[in-house]
């Protein structure tokens, strides 16, 4: 079932064009790397604020409203470009450890973010203006930072297997 899907994906027109072209893969990969640097760089600003390390004079809620739209836009670009890269050699990528581990960490980052939004962020009006943040916010920021560093490491690793 999954094998069928991966083979079908590789046989689609964009996938074939990417694997046969000498410049499409590097071009899309460049876009992918740019988008990821924007995702990770912008989320790091929020995470460091949650950890109480950086931008301590800025209210957390305000910072999140300003930065997260850039993160989500970049993330959408990263997902689209990543899907195109994946399609060009789907069965190979799916079989590698770093690819699977990267997807797992992305899911965990999503879970961490959902929990953060559903719990501690709800009371941001109470604590968001203080330079120091509650422990739950620190944990959320630390976990996010660790997971995204893991995502970048595993992503780079995919190119070496």
């Amino acid at each position: 079932m999954l094998d069928h899907f991966l083979h079908w994906l590789e046989s689609t027109a964009p996938a074939i064009a990417i694997s046969e072209s000498s410049w499409l893969f590097p071009g899309i990969e460049s876009v992918h790397v740019l988008a990821i640097t924007m995702v990770v760089g912008s989320i790091t600003m929020v995470d460091l604020r949650l950890l109480g390390v950086n931008l301590r004079d800025r209210p957390v809620g305000e910072l999140i409203d300003e930065i997260l739209p850039w993160t989500w836009t970049s993330f959408a670009v990263a997902v689209c470009s990543g899907a195109l890269l994946f399609s060009s050699n789907a069965t190979h990528y799916w079989g590698t450890f770093p690819f699977r581990a990267k997807m797992l960490l992305l899911i965990l980052a999503g879970v961490n973010m959902t929990v953060f939004h559903a719990t501690i962020l709800r009371s941001v009006d109470v604590w968001g203006r203080r330079p120091q943040t509650p422990r739950a916010a620190k944990i959320s920021g630390g976990v996010s930072l660790g997971l995204w560093i893991g995502v970048v490491s595993l992503g780079r690793w995919i190119g070496f297997v």
Binding site: S30, V33, T37, M38, G41, L55, V152, R156
Partner: protein, 164 residues
């Protein structure tokens, strides 16, 4: 001459170690990419502020104080990790057209940034609380040029892997 240097570098003890230990290059590349994240995100915020597209409630001077230390800090990490990558694979980078283009653009981006910081510092030294209004138009050009340069630098960096 460049070939001699590449051959000499590739034969040094440091280069041989980097070539032999399989995890050094991927790990250092990862650190390099993470530092690029810091540069691109910081400079995107700052350049978008110069263009008037982000954070308009805050002064250019406050954005400068906030993001410039991250730029210089990350550039140190980039220079160090980049040097390790060159020592490990001298032939891959030196003489590579994308590497040369990247270094030229990097020098230009740093010069543009230092130039703008000098203007900002002078305006603040004259008792202003922010960049002088007469420099707002120039700031937009700087923001656009800087943003384009940093993006092109990152792209050229990735393309080093694809050109001999």
């Amino acid at each position: 001459m460049l070939v001699d240097f590449i051959n000499w570098l590739a034969a040094t003890q440091a280069s041989l170690i980097i070539q032999k230990v399989f995890w050094i290059i991927p790990t250092v590349q990862t650190a390099h990419i993470l530092a690029i994240s810091v540069v691109l995100a910081s400079m995107a915020m700052f350049d978008l502020r110069l263009l008037g597209l982000a954070g308009k409630r805050h002064s250019i001077a406050s954005f400068s104080r906030r993001f410039m230390p991250w730029l210089w800090g990350a550039l140190v990490v980039l220079a160090a990790s980049g040097s390790i990558l060159i020592v490990g694979e001298p032939k891959r980078a030196l003489g590579n057209v994308f590497f040369e283009a990247k270094m030229c653009m990097l020098a230009t981006a740093i010069a543009v940034t230092l130039g703008f910081q000098a203007i900002l510092k002078r305006d603040l030294g004259r008792g202003g609380s922010d960049l002088a209004p007469s420099h707002f138009a120039a700031a937009k050009v700087v923001g656009l040029v800087s943003l384009a340069l940093w993006i092109a630098i990152a792209v050229a960096g990735r393309l080093i892997a694809y050109a001999g």
